[in-house]
C-alpha cells in the first residue's frame, strides 16, 4: 500500500495534475481555437490581443457555408462516396474474413501476409498508374473512379478487422448448421452475420473514416467543382478566399462533425478500428 499523506507524495500528485493540465492545453487548444474562430467575424479573428471567447458571437460563417449550393455539394459527394465504399467494403470483407476465419486452405498464410503488407503501400505509388487507368477507361472525374480507388485502401483493413472479430466467435454455432445439413453459405447469413454486428459496425466506422479523410486521390482523380469532396473543398476555399478564415474554420468544423459524432457515440468501435492495423 502506498502512503498518501507525506508532503513529498502530495507534491507529486500536484505536479501530476499540473502536467495533465499542460497536456490538455497542448491537445485541445488548437481545436478550441478552430471552434471559437468559426463563431467570430473575420476582423475579430486577428484582433490584438486575441479574444479567447468570441466577443461578438456570430453564425455568419456557417450561414455562408450552408447557404452555398457549391459547398453543400462537397458534403453530399463526401457522404455519398464514403457511404458507397463502406457498403461495398464491408460486404466484400465479410466474405473474405469468413473464408479466413472458418476454413483451412492452401496459401492461407501467404495471402494473410499479402493483405497485411498492402496496408503499407504508399498511396503516391499507386496514384500515377491509377491516373493512367482512370483516364484510359474514361472514368476520370466520376464517382466510379473514387469508389474503386478507395476500395483498394479500405479493403485490407476491413478484412483484418473482420477476421479478427470472427475469430472471437465460437465455431460450434456454425458447425451446428453444418450438422443440420446446411451449407457454409447458410451458416454465414443465418448465424454469423446476426452475431457479428459489433464487428460489422466497427469495420463500417473505420472504412467510412478512411474515405472521409482521403485527400490525394480526390485531388488528382476529380476535376470539376461538382465532383469535389470536403477535404478538397476546404483547400479550394483557402485558395479562393485566402482571408475568409472564419468560413474555413466553419467548414472545418462541419467537415469534422461525422468523425466527432461517431467518436462520441461509438468510442469503443472507433478505437477498435483506429488501432486495428497495429495490434495485429
Amino acid at each position: 500500500m502506498r502512503k498518501r499523506h507525506t508532503p513529498k507524495d502530495r507534491l507529486i500528485t500536484v505536479a501530476l495534475h499540473v502536467a495533465l493540465a499542460a497536456g490538455l492545453f497542448f491537445a485541445a487548444f488548437p481545436i478550441y481555437w478552430m471552434l471559437s474562430s468559426s463563431f467570430k467575424s473575420n476582423t475579430e479573428i486577428f484582433a490584438l490581443p486575441p479574444t479567447v471567447l468570441p466577443k461578438a458571437f456570430t453564425l455568419e460563417a456557417y450561414a455562408a457555408i450552408l447557404g452555398d449550393p457549391v459547398k453543400l455539394r462537397f458534403f453530399f459527394n463526401s457522404y455519398f462516396v464514403a457511404g458507397a465504399v463502406t457498403v461495398l467494403t464491408v460486404l466484400i470483407a465479410l466474405l473474405a474474413a469468413y473464408g479466413f476465419s472458418r476454413f483451412n486452405f492452401r496459401g492461407k498464410g501467404s495471402l494473410n501476409t499479402l493483405i497485411i503488407s498492402t496496408q503499407t503501400i504508399p498511396p503516391i505509388t499507386l496514384l500515377i498508374p491509377f491516373f493512367g487507368l482512370v483516364v484510359s477507361y474514361g472514368i476520370f472525374d466520376t464517382y466510379v473512379a473514387l469508389i474503386l480507388t478507395y476500395l483498394v485502401f479500405t479493403l485490407p483493413y476491413a478484412i483484418l478487422l473482420m477476421t479478427g472479430y470472427l475469430n472471437t466467435l465460437p465455431r460450434d454455432l456454425d458447425e451446428a448448421v453444418a450438422v443440420d445439413g446446411g451449407t457454409s453459405w447458410t451458416a454465414l447469413w443465418r448465424v454469423i452475420v446476426p452475431i457479428s454486428l459489433p464487428g460489422i459496425v466497427a469495420t463500417s466506422v473505420y472504412t467510412f473514416l478512411l474515405c472521409w479523410n482521403e485527400f490525394l486521390f480526390a485531388l488528382t482523380l476529380t476535376k470539376s467543382t461538382s465532383m469535389r469532396t470536403v477535404p478538397i473543398g476546404i483547400q479550394l476555399l483557402m485558395g479562393q478566399h485566402a482571408f475568409e478564415w472564419n468560413q474555413m474554420m466553419a467548414m472545418s468544423v462541419l467537415g469534422s462533425l461525422p468523425l466527432l459524432l461517431i467518436y462520441l457515440v461509438a468510442q469503443r468501435f472507433f478505437l477498435a478500428g483506429m488501432t486495428a492495423g497495429s495490434v495485429k
Partner: protein
C-alpha cells in the same frame, strides 16, 4: 450420408474458401498488384501515360532523379520529418499514457482527459493543416502570445520562411499523431500484471526503477510495432505538407511525396515521377518486410 455425398461435401469445403476470398483477391490483384507492376513499367518508358506507344528508356529516369539535388533534399526532409515525428509521437504518447494510467487521478477525470487527449487524432490532415495555418499566421495567436511574453521580438512567418517551415510542419504533424501511441500504450499498460509491481514494491524499488525494469520492457513489443508502422505512414504524408507549405518556400519542406506529385502533375513528367514513386515503394517495402518479420517472430 452416402460415400458419394460425403466426397461431394468435402469438395465443396475445399473450394468454398477460395470463392469467399475471390472478390477481395480480384480487387487487390487488379487494383493494387497490377498498378504496382504498371508503375514499374512506366518508370522504364519515355512519356509514359501521355503517349500510346512509349519507347523504352532504360534507367534514364532513375539517373535523372539521382542527380537531382531536389530529390536528395526531399529525401533528407522526409527523414527529418519522419524521425522527429516518430520520436515525439512515442515520447508524448508514453508520457500521456503513463499520466492517465496513474492511480493518483480520479477515474472520472481520467476518462474525460482520455477523450480530450485523443482529440487531435479525430481531425483530417487537411483540417489539421488549416488549423495550424490559422494558429501560425504572422498575425495569428501564436505570434501575438510569444511576442507578449517576449520570446520573439518580431512576427515570425513560420510556414513561409525557409528556416522555420520544416520545423513548423513537423510540429503540426507531431501534434496530430501522438494519440496512436497513447491509445496503444494505454492498452498495453493495462495488460501488465499487477504482481510485477507488487513484487518490486516488496523489494523496495523506486518509481523510476519500476518504469525502467518493468513498464518499458513490457511495452517494448508495442513500442517497436507502432514505431515501425508510424514510420512507414509518416514517410508517406502528403496533405499536411501540401496544404501548409506546398513543399516550399524554395523546396525547404519538399518531401518525397510532394516531390513525386509535382513531377507527375505539375511538370507532367509521369515517367520520372514513376521512377520516384518506385523508389518510395522500395523504401516502404523494405520497412514492411522488417515489420512483418518482427510480427511473425513475436
Amino acid at each position: 450420408m452416402t460415400r458419394q455425398k460425403r466426397s461431394h461435401h468435402r469438395l465443396k469445403r475445399a473450394v468454398a474458401p477460395y470463392l469467399y476470398l475471390s472478390p477481395s483477391l480480384l480487387i487487390i490483384g487488379l487494383l493494387m498488384l497490377l498498378p504496382m507492376v504498371t508503375v514499374i513499367a512506366y518508370s522504364f518508358q519515355n512519356s509514359a501515360v501521355l503517349r500510346r506507344d512509349p519507347s523504352f528508356a532504360g534507367l534514364k529516369h532513375y539517373q535523372a532523379i539521382f542527380v537531382d539535388p531536389v530529390f536528395w533534399a526531399s529525401l533528407w526532409h522526409t527523414l527529418y520529418f519522419t524521425c522527429m515525428s516518430v520520436v515525439f509521437h512515442m515520447t508524448i504518447g508514453m508520457v500521456f499514457a503513463l499520466m492517465l494510467n496513474s492511480d493518483r487521478i480520479n477515474p472520472t477525470l481520467r476518462n474525460i482527459l482520455r477523450v480530450l487527449y485523443i482529440l487531435p487524432w479525430l481531425f483530417t490532415a487537411v483540417i489539421i493543416a488549416v488549423i495550424w495555418r490559422l494558429l501560425l499566421e504572422p498575425n495569428g495567436v501564436v505570434n501575438s502570445v510569444l511576442m507578449q511574453m517576449g520570446i520573439i521580438g518580431s512576427k515570425v512567418e513560420w510556414f513561409s520562411s525557409p528556416e522555420t517551415a520544416l520545423h513548423a510542419v513537423t510540429f503540426a504533424n507531431i501534434w496530430a499523431g501522438y494519440p496512436l501511441f497513447m491509445v496503444s500504450l494505454l492498452a498495453g499498460l493495462q495488460g501488465i500484471p499487477k504482481d510485477f509491481y507488487e513484487a518490486a514494491d516488496i523489494d523496495g524499488a523506486k518509481a523510476y526503477q519500476k518504469l525502467i525494469f518493468i513498464t518499458i520492457p513490457q511495452l517494448m513489443p508495442i513500442i517497436i510495432s507502432i514505431s515501425l508502422l508510424d514510420f512507414i505512414w509518416t514517410m508517406q504524408v502528403f496533405p499536411l505538407i501540401w496544404i501548409t507549405t506546398g513543399g516550399g518556400p524554395i523546396y525547404s519542406t519538399e518531401v518525397l511525396s510532394t516531390y513525386t506529385y509535382k513531377l507527375a502533375f505539375s511538370s507532367y513528367n509521369l515517367s520520372q515521377a514513376s521512377a520516384s514513386a518506385v523508389v518510395i515503394l522500395l523504401i516502404s517495402l523494405g520497412l514492411t518486410l522488417f515489420y512483418i518479420r518482427y510480427q511473425k517472430a513475436r
